[in-house]
């Protein structure tokens, strides 16, 4: 098994190339920081060639958590080769990473990507000359269209063996002896050469420092850097040692670029610049964003999504259900089996599956935003507001992703550099109304607020954002830090999303929902149905005397003050912790609703409009779902914060639902 790691700047097309050569469907999007985790694939057709896709990085010395993933991977995983993606339109910057990678002395090849973008800007990069300069293979490609990807595949299979790159940068008479000294201390039994460790250490690479600490080597090195830094500052006109390293490399790179790059004509105004004049316009920017969000919303709930879901729901009730019943009877199935299937599974799973069209539409529009390049602009437009609440504009990216699903949203927070801002973003992203909550809204808003359904649902989405922002402020006040935050983001050029990518990323996201229906919701439905079928006195009891009613009855009183003290609501909320759409499945089963119409009627009797709204507010805010809790645990690495995320959500949900219900009653909405 041979492993090749894909390394390069953020947003230079690593994942696009990875997908193309391994036949995978990893997450692609047009903003820096889409991939935040290591992903492994196999070169299609060549099972012994493993490819590792990594997050992007601006420099080997990591600033954010996603960059640290790359440096740590290079330090820990003994990869056999490196596939470095170089953005032809950003040659200077890309080569900076390239040089540091070459110092790893591993077999390496370059995929020179984005040559179409470079060409449009009048930049021509000579791949042959670049290969000569660096002494490694260089393949020009357009990852997006697949052009040249096959050549990359061939080169990968050829990579390795004895041919190690003979690349060497001489850092001058002052630094070299120090590098040698450190090399001796570090020793050369590691996955990376001692020289590389020495250089990175001298530059102040934090990941390398902790690598050294783990091995008990850092203490022995401490004096070295300080003395050298003093000398360098004195002799060279630099401010720090790391700046010196940068200078040496930059000189090399400029020389190289002179040889390999040709600028044909001066640039005209690009389409990106034209679009940005509107989208990031001082006055229009924010309204454009809001209109965008509102349109997405209208399409999902009003214009396209709901009608499609209704069609599906009718089909399920009028065709599938009766047909299944007939079929089971004809097969001589027992009453028990028929009941499990029709009352348990079809009600539970089917009741959630009817929302597939809405959810896929929502995912498709989120994918469109992701792949167009608009995401980074949103961060720019929103930064000022977010700053008021102690976050930064980049926190909006996890939140938008969170509207689809909170799990990738929480992970996307990795690109936020400041640890505190990242933590808050992780804790607050679950307040974004994800697609799993959509069935709950559809059901309740459809039943009680049919006339202005989309406004009611929109209010819930807004409520989620507002609560998140207010809490961000509260958290920052409690954390007691007012210090300066940090905001930095690169605006990529706009790209028209390709249908293929759009469809794939929609499917990859939506798949999760369908899969949940087949696992969690399926299992949950069967369990709920069984609990409603069994009672203390035996099987096939009245629903109100079932085990389920007893369990729900225990916690029902807690919910009485917020408007829904029934055992049914209690049970639905408990099971909703698995995944929020289970709330709907459970209600389908316990109100024994053969179809959507009856469920609406049953709910119409159990709730008032006011308690229904209170219920929706509660579902929006109360505890993140199981998968989200797991990912919060992973991303914060702290059990304390994980419990906190569950706890604060419960408290806030209860308080707000209480305000809604009791306040509403006072105002006379209670009837």
């Amino acid at each position: 098994m041979k492993q090749t790691a894909l390394v390069g700047n953020p947003n230079c097309g690593k994942t696009t190339l990875f997908n193309s050569i391994t036949g995978s469907y990893e997450y692609v999007g047009n903003w820096p920081g889409v991939t935040v985790e290591k992903k492994v694939g196999v070169l299609s057709g060549v099972s012994e060639e493993q490819i590792i896709d990594l997050p992007g990085l601006y420099s080997i010395n990591p600033v954010s958590a996603d960059e640290a993933v790359v440096t740590n991977c290079l330090l820990e995983v003994p990869v056999d080769g490196i596939l470095n993606i170089v953005d032809a339109a950003q040659l200077n910057r890309s080569l900076y990473v390239t040089l540091q990678l070459l110092e790893l002395q591993k077999p390496m090849l370059i995929a020179l990507n984005m040559i179409d973008v470079a060409r449009n800007r009048g930049i021509k990069v000579d791949a042959v000359k670049l290969a000569e300069q660096l002494n490694i293979p260089v393949t020009p490609i357009i990852a997006r269209s697949g052009e040249g990807c096959n050549d990359v595949k061939t080169e990968i299979t050829r990579l390795g063996g004895e041919t190690k790159p003979s690349f060497f940068i001489d850092y001058g008479p002052l630094v070299e002896p120090m590098i040698l000294q450190i090399e001796k201390i570090v020793g050369d039994e590691h996955t990376v050469p001692a020289r590389w460790i020495a250089i990175q250490y001298l530059e102040g690479n934090a990941a390398v420092e902790s690598w050294l600490t783990v091995r008990g080597l850092l203490d022995q090195l401490n004096g070295h850097r300080i003395t050298l830094e003093e000398q360098i500052i004195e002799i060279q006109s630099v401010k720090s040692l790391s700046q010196y390293f940068r200078m040496v490399r930059s000189v090399l790179i400029s020389d190289m670029v002179q040889v390999v790059e040709q600028r044909v004509n001066a640039r005209m105004v690009t389409r990106t610049q034209q679009l940005d004049r509107i989208v990031t316009h001082p006055l229009l920017g924010a309204p454009v964003f809001l209109i965008f969000m509102f349109l997405i919303f209208k399409v999902t709930f009003d214009w396209v999504g709901t009608p499609l879901s209704d069609v599906l729901s009718i089909w399920l009730d009028q065709d599938v259900s009766p047909w299944m019943n007939q079929f089971l009877i004809s097969q001589g199935a027992s009453d028990f089996i028929i009941a499990v299937i029709t009352n348990g599974i079809i009600s539970g799973v089917g009741g959630v599956l009817v929302f597939v069209p809405q959810i896929f539409l929502l995912f498709m529009m989120i994918s469109f935003i992701e792949d167009s390049g608009y995401m980074a602009r949103v961060a720019f437009v929103m930064d000022r507001i977010m700053q008021l609440f102690g976050l930064n504009g980049k926190a909006f990216i996890p939140m938008i992703i969170g509207f689809g699903c909170n799990v990738p949203g929480v992970m996307a927070a990795r690109t936020i550099e400041q640890p505190r801002e990242r933590l808050f973003t992780i804790l607050l992203t679950p307040l974004m109304s994800c697609s799993a909550r959509l069935p709950v809204y559809s059901l309740f808003a459809g039943t009680f607020f049919a006339a202005n359904q989309s406004m009611v649902v929109f209010s819930l989405y807004l409520l989620g954002i507002i609560v998140a922002l207010v809490l961000a402020k509260v958290f920052s006040l409690f954390a007691g830090v007012s210090g300066t935050g940090m905001f930095f983001i690169e605006l990529p050029p706009y790209r028209v999303p390709q249908w293929k990518t759009l469809w794939r990323s929609t499917w990859e996201k939506g798949k999760g929902f369908v899969r949940k229906a087949g696992t969690f919701i399926f299992g949950g439905s069967v369990l709920i149905w069984l609990l409603s079928y069994l009672g203390p006195t035996g099987a096939h009891v009245q629903m109100n005397e079932s085990l389920l009613a007893i369990i729900g009855g225990w916690i029902a009183p807690v919910f009485a003050p917020i408007g829904f003290g029934t055992w049914q609501a209690g049970v639905a909320l408990i099971t909703g912790f698995l995944a929020k759409e289970v709330v709907v499945s459970t209600m389908n089963i316990i109100y024994a609703a053969p179809d959507a119409g009856t469920l609406a009627t049953a709910i119409g009797q159990a709730f008032t409009p006011l308690s229904a709204y209170s219920f929706m507010v509660f579902v929006l805010l109360y505890v993140p779902c199981l998968a989200t809790v797991a990912v919060i645990r992973k991303e914060t690495g702290s059990t304390k914060w994980t419990w906190f995320s569950v706890g604060y959500a419960l408290v806030i949900a209860y308080i707000l639902a209480l305000v809604v219900y009791q306040g509403g009653k006072l105002l006379g909405f209670g009837v």
Partner: protein, 76 residues
């Protein structure tokens, strides 16, 4: 003496000195090639003291205005 935040959209300038305290941001800017003598074009300023978008060597990046105020420039 002039600082980056004082420039209006459409203005070009050359970086004289960067005195940003936040070390992470400093490094990011360096990685992007924003160092002494780099040429910068201001493309957009968000309202109400929001961030500044600028172009440098064909890349478009955003930083906050208070950070821009720590970059000394010279108009060209």
């Amino acid at each position: 003496m002039m600082f980056l935040n004082e420039l209006k959209p459409g203005m070009k300038a050359k970086v004289k000195e960067i005195c940003i305290e936040n070390e992470m941001l400093c490094r990011r800017l360096m990685d992007m090639g924003i160092a002494e003598d780099a040429e910068i074009l201001i493309t957009c300023k968000a309202p109400l003291g929001g961030p500044v978008a600028l172009e440098c060597a064909n890349q478009s990046i955003c930083i906050r205005r208070n950070d821009a105020a720590c970059i000394q420039v010279e108009r060209v």
